[in-house]
Amino acid sequence: MILKSSNLTEIIKPRIKEVGLSFYLLKKNKLTLAAFYVIIAIIVLAILAPFIVPYPSHISEEANAANKLLPPSQEFIFGTDELGRDIFSRVIYGTRISLTTAVLAVGLALLIGVPMGAIAGTIGGWVDETIMRITDIFLSFPPLLLAIAIVSIVGPSLNNAVIAIALSWWPWYTRLVRGQAVSLKERKFIQAAEAIGTSKWKIIFSHVVPNTISPVIVQASMDMGGVILTIASLSFLGLGAQAPTPEWGLMISTSRNYFLNAWWYSIFPGIAIFITVLAFNLLGDGFREIMDPKTRKN
C-alpha cells in the first residue's frame, strides 16, 4: 500500500502546522479573534435556535393579544411586539434567516462571479471585453438600487431578494478574480500547463481558480456583513422577507409604527444586525491580514 502509516503522519503534520500558523496569526489580532468567536457564537445560535428560544411558537403568527407590546421583563427579556410575541425568540431565530440568506446570496454571487472572472482573465480578447463590459453595466448601479429593481420585477419574497442580491453582487467578484487571473497568466506554471497541452478549461478551473481563492475568501467574508445589511434593508422596504418571518429588517420596519411607545421593539433587532455586520467586517479585515502579509501590522 502506498499510504503507509508513518508516511501518513508525515503528510498530515505540515498541514496541521499550517492551520496552527493561521490560528496563531488570528490570535495575534485581538479584535479579529473576538469577531471570530462572535461569529462562531452566532452560528451556534442559528443552528440551535429552535431548541433554545423560550417561545418557539412565537416564530409564526401565533398571537396573544394580552401580552401586546410589553417592555423587557423577566418573562420576555427583549419585550414583546404588537401581537404579543416574544422579541427575544424572534431575534434569535432571525440569525438563522440572516445567516442562511447571506450565505446563499454570497455563494450564488461567487458561483456566477468567480468562473466569469477566471474565464475573462485567462482567455482575454473579446471574451474578456464582453464579460467586463457586462460587469461594468451592473456596476454602474448602486447594488441596493439594482436589487430593489430586480425584486420589484420578480415580486417581493425572501428567495427573490437572495437572487436579486446575488445578481447585483457577482460583478465585484468577477473583477477581483479577473485581476488575479491576468497576473497569474504570467506565472510560469500556467505556461508550463499550456506547454504540456492541458486544455484551457482545465487551466482555468484547476490552475487559475484555486490560486485566486485567498482574496476571494477575504472579499466574501467582508461582503457577508454588507449582504446581511442589504437583506435587512430590502425586508425593511417590504421587498424581502414577508410577515410573519422573524427577519430583522422586517421587524424594524414593523416597529416603526410603535417606535415612540415601544423602544425595545426596534432596538434589539437593530443591535443584532449591528453585531453581526461588525463581526463579519472585522473578521474580513483579519482574514486579509492573515492571507496577505503586506497588510500585516507589526
Binding site: I11, L25, K188, F189, A192, G197, S199, K202, H207, P210
Partner: protein
C-alpha cells in the same frame, strides 16, 4: 585598538511563531579603511540580515539582536538609537546599494529630483548648488548626457543606468563606507562588468571602504581584497582572496570552489548523430507595439533565425536579456504564433498541425523553466504537478499514475514521500527536480531547459547539472539549453548559438566556440565574466552603451553601435552567417 570597521561576536536571532533561531553568529570581521571585504553566501545564509543589521534597518521583531558590537570608526553602531543612525550615519557616512535599484528609487519622481533632494538633505546645500552637484556626480559615474538623464523617471532608464545613479547618490552624500548587497544580480554580464569596474575606480578615487555581499564566489573574489564565506549565519572561513581560493580549509568552502571549477570542460565527446530532430527555418517573431501614431511598429524579438538540433544533442543558446532567446524557445514550443518561418519537428511544421497532431508534439517537447518558485502551482500536491502531463496525454488509472510519479521522483533523486507535499516545502534545487520530473513524465524527445539553474544556489546548481547530464545519458534526451551563465552552457552543450538583439551572431561546436570565439560580441561576452582565475576586475572586458531597442534596431550589423571593431560597412550592410571553419560560423565582416 580596533579596525576601521569591525564586527565582534554579533548574534542575531529570528523569531517565528514556533521557534526562535539564530540566523547570524559572527565572531569577528575586520575591514581596514579603503579595503574591500567580500561576503559570499547562499540564499538564507544571513547575508541580507547582516547588511540590514549594520545599517540599523533590521526589523525587530521578528529579528532580535542578542548581542555583540559593530564598531565603525571607533563608535559602536548597535548602541546608537534610530535617530542618531538616521542623522549621522545612514545615508551620509554609510550607504547601501541594493540588489534591485528599482526598489531604492521612487518611481513617481525624476531621478534628478531624487538626487537633489538627497543632496539638499545631507549636505545642506541650496537647490542650485545641489543641482550642480548632482550633475557632477552623474558625470563621475559616467552617465552620458547627465542633464538629460536628470529629467528621466526610473523606469525610463536601464538597469545598469539605475545602478549607476544609486552609486552616484551614495557618493554624493559623502559616504565613506559602502555596503553593496548583490549590486549586479539582475544585470547582464557585460553591464555587470562595467558596473564593477566603475565601483572599483570610484573606490580608489574617493577612498571608500566596501563591504561586498554576493552569492557568486568568482565575482566576489575578483572584486575584493579579503573574503569571508558565510554559511548558516557563521563565517566558516575568511582571509585574503588568494589564500581562501588556493587553499581552502573548510569543507563548505571546498564544496563551493569545486562546484565552480567542475563546470569547466567536463564535457565528454559525444557520438555523432546526423538525424535531425528539430529544424528552425528563417523564423521571425515580431510583437506589435501600441503607439498613438498610426504607423505600425514592431518589437523584432526574433529576426530570421535558423538552427538545427540533431537527436541526442544539446544545443546551448547564449545571449543577454532581450536577445530573443526566450521568445525563440516559446515559439518553438508553439506558445506564440510566429510572424513567419517554420519550425520542423521530426520533419513536420508544428504550426500546420491539426489538433491531435499538435497534442502529440506537445507530449514530445517539454520544458523546464528558470524559476522553480513560479513554475509549480503552489496549491497543488507534488504528485498532481508531476502527473499533469500524464493525465493529459495518457489514460492511466490512479494507482499506475502514482507508481509512475514515484518512479520519476526516484529518477530525479527525491524521496518517494515527496509526492504528498506542496512545492513550498522544498528548497529551490528540489523544486527544480520536481519540474524536471514533470518534464520527463511522458517520455519526451526534446526537453527545453530555460535557464535551469540560474535561480538556485551554487551548490544545488552543480547537482542539478549533474542530474541533467546523467538523465541525458540514461534516457538519450535531446536538449535545448538557454542560459546566460556560460559555465553551464560550457558544461552541457555540444553546439552553441550566440544571439544578439534577435539575430544569431555565432554558431558552432561549443568546444570550438569557447576556445576560439570569433564575433566581437561573443568575445566581449566571454571576457566579461569573472572567474576564479581572473585577477581583479580590471582585466574584464566591458561593452559601452546600452543594448539598443529592438523596436528600432541599428542598421546593418546590429552590434555595430557597441562594437570596438566596427567599420563604416557595418552600419550599412547586414552581415550574413558565413562558415569560418568546420561547424563554426559567424555573421561578421571581419571574417570574410
Amino acid at each position: 585598538m580596533s579596525a576601521y570597521f569591525e564586527i565582534r561576536n554579533l548574534k542575531v536571532d529570528y523569531r517565528t511563531y514556533e521557534k526562535q533561531q539564530t540566523v547570524l553568529d559572527i565572531k569577528r570581521i575586520a575591514i581596514e579603511r579603503g579595503k574591500t571585504y567580500g561576503i559570499v553566501g547562499e540564499s538564507g545564509s544571513g547575508k541580507t540580515v547582516l547588511a540590514l543589521t549594520i545599517m540599523g534597518l533590521l526589523q525587530c521583531p521578528p529579528g532580535i539582536i542578542q548581542g555583540g558590537e559593530i564598531i565603525f570608526d571607533g563608535q559602536d553602531l548597535l548602541k546608537k538609537n534610530g535617530k542618531e543612525m538616521a542623522e549621522n550615519y545612514r545615508g551620509n557616512r554609510i550607504a547601501m546599494i541594493f540588489q534591485d535599484p528599482m526598489s531604492t528609487l521612487n518611481p513617481v519622481f525624476t531621478v534628478g529630483y531624487q538626487m537633489i533632494q538627497i543632496i539638499k538633505q545631507n549636505q545642506k546645500l541650496h537647490k542650485k548648488d545641489a543641482y550642480k552637484k548632482a550633475v557632477e556626480m552623474m558625470q563621475v559615474v559616467k552617465l552620458p548626457d547627465a542633464e538629460d538623464i536628470m529629467q528621466k523617471y526610473p523606469h525610463q532608464l536601464s538597469g545598469g543606468q539605475r545602478q549607476r545613479i544609486i552609486i552616484a547618490m551614495a557618493l554624493a552624500c559623502g559616504a565613506e563606507f559602502l555596503i553593496a548587497d548583490e549590486p549586479t544580480r539582475n544585470l547582464d554580464v557585460t553591464i555587470q562588468a562595467s558596473i564593477l569596474k566603475l565601483m572599483k575606480e570610484l573606490q580608489h578615487k574617493f577612498g571608500v571602504t566596501v563591504l561586498f555581499i554576493a552569492n557568486n564566489l568568482s565575482l566576489v573574489s575578483a572584486f575584493c581584497d579579503e573574503i569571508g564565506i558565510l554559511h548558516d549565519g557563521r563565517i566558516v572561513e575568511q582571509g585574503p582572496v588568494e589564500n581562501v581560493i588556493r587553499s581552502p580549509q573548510n569543507l563548505y568552502t571546498k564544496m563551493l570552489i569545486d562546484s565552480i571549477t567542475k563546470g569547466e570542460n567536463a564535457r565528454k565527446k559525444k557520438q555523432e548523430n546526423d538525424e535531425v530532430l528539430l529544424e528552425v527555418r528563417s523564423l521571425k517573431k515580431y510583437f506589435p507595439v501600441r503607439k498613438k501614431t498610426s504607423e505600425k511598429l514592431f518589437v523584432k524579438a526574433v529576426d530570421d533565425v535558423n538552427l538545427i538540433v540533431n537527436k541526442g544533442e544539446v544545443l546551448g543558446i547564449v545571449g543577454e536579456s532581450g536577445c530573443g532567446k526566450s521568445t525563440l524557445v516559446n515559439t518553438i514550443l508553439n506558445l506564440h504564433e510566429p510572424t513567419s518561418g517554420q519550425v520542423l519537428f521530426e520533419g513536420k511544421n508544428i504550426f500546420e498541425l491539426d489538433r491531435s497532431q499538435l497534442r502529440k508534439t506537445r507530449k514530445d517537447i517539454q520544458i523546464v523553466f528558470q524559476d522553480p518558485y513560479w513554475s509549480l502551482n503552489p496549491r497543488w500536491l507534488v504528485k498532481d504537478i508531476i502527473s499533469e502531463p500524464i493525465k493529459v496525454h495518457e489514460k492511466l488509472d490512479g494507482i499506475s499514475i502514482l507508481k509512475r510519479v514515484e518512479g520519476l521522483l526516484e529518477l530525479v533523486g527525491l524521496p518517494k514521500n515527496s509526492a504528498f507535499k506542496y512545492p513550498h516545502e522544498f528548497s529551490g534545487g528540489q523544486r527544480q527536480r520536481i519540474a524536471i520530473a514533470r518534464a520527463l513524465a511522458v517520455n519526451p524527445k526534446l526537453v527545453v531547459l530555460d535557464e535551469p539553474t540560474s535561480s538556485i544556489d551554487v551548490i544545488s546548481q552543480s547537482q542539478i547539472l549533474e542530474l541533467l547530464e546523467g538523465l541525458r545519458e540514461k534516457l538519450g534526451l535531446t536538449n535545448i539549453l538557454i542560459s546566460h551563465d556560460l559555465s553551464v552552457v560550457n558544461y552541457m552543450a555540444d553546439k552553441i548559438i550566440v544571439m544578439y538583439l534577435g539575430k544569431v551572431v555565432e554558431y558552432g561546436d561549443s568546444a570550438e566556440v569557447f576556445k576560439n570565439p570569433l564575433h566581437p560580441y561573443t568575445k566581449a561576452l566571454f571576457n566579461s565574466i569573472p572567474s576564479l582565475e581572473v585577477n581583479g576586475i580590471e582585466s574584464l572586458t566591458t561593452l559601452e552603451g546600452n543594448v539598443p531597442s529592438a523596436i528600432n534596431p541599428p542598421s546593418g550589423c546590429r552590434f555595430h553601435t557597441r562594437c570596438s571593431m566596427a567599420s563604416e560597412r557595418c552600419s550599412k550592410e547586414v552581415p550574413t552567417m558565413k562558415v569560418h571553419s568546420d561547424n563554426h560560423s559567424t555573421a561578421c565582416f571581419l571574417y570574410e
